[in-house]
């Protein structure tokens, strides 16, 4: 509890369950720029056109594209608004060490925070 300040952190709206919007399971999320639950590659525009790959459910590295390698595939999860590994599906891409580190990794502690 705190004194009223009218900020966004004190503003609420009541949404009745029967009126609540359902979480979309497909289609384009225009705000985030991804199709929901549709696997994709993140391909560099550098000359070799390598793609991002998750290594050992942790670090993200640049690697040559290989067909049907799921650790090179990602998808957008509408519920958490995170980009997740298509190989380790409960792992999302996050900035390492709660945003205090320049590296990104795939983490199972999906928390949707903006570091």
């Amino acid at each position: 509890m705190n004194k009223r300040n009218g900020g966004a952190n004190q503003r609420w709206k009541v949404v009745y369950v029967d009126k609540a919007a359902k979480t979309e399971t497909k289609g384009l999320n225009e705000e985030f720029g991804f199709f929901i639950n549709r696997p994709f590659y993140i391909r560099s525009r550098m000359p070799m056109e390598r793609v991002m790959e998750v290594h050992g459910a942790a670090w993200t590295r640049l690697n040559r594209w290989r067909k049907n390698v799921k650790s090179q595939q990602f998808y957008f999860d509408e519920k958490t608004k995170t980009v997740r590994s298509n190989h380790w599906k409960n792992y999302a891409i996050a900035i390492y060490s709660n945003g205090g580190h320049p590296y990104i990794s795939a983490t199972s502690g999906v928390n949707s925070r903006w570091w």
Binding site: R38, S44, M46, T60, R64, Q73, I104, W115
Partner: protein
Amino acid sequence: MFRYQGTAFINDHGKALNIDGNIDAENRNINIHNKHGKINQQWDLVYVDQYPDEPTKGQLNKNFGFFVDRDFHIVSELRSHRYLEVFNGNNGQQPSIKTANGNKGQLWWFDQVSKTVKSRISNRSFDIRSSGKSNLLQLYNTNSGWW
């Protein structure tokens, strides 16, 4: 949380997916950096069901301008039209121009996996000496580094 905007994967703090050190090499770390928009922060989002198959042997790689795994000569446009040749293709060997002689040292091919031009005599690749800092061309073990 990241958004895909233009060619960048970016979050609300303006941090973008970034290839560490701007080096296009296998296993290079991908990190996060303030958005600057240079090529090491530019990405295509390509859906798996739309990803084009890579060209196979005999097919043209349009991006690189070579037919895959198809032997070719590299012929000078100087008056004598000599061929680029290596003697045995050892590491560090520099190509030179020679009259066409039918030797394997004058045969080259494009490798789709490493995206390099290789000598048929040793299967080593074109490389720029001193990790790209020299003006000397050599053959070397394939590393796909793009200097």
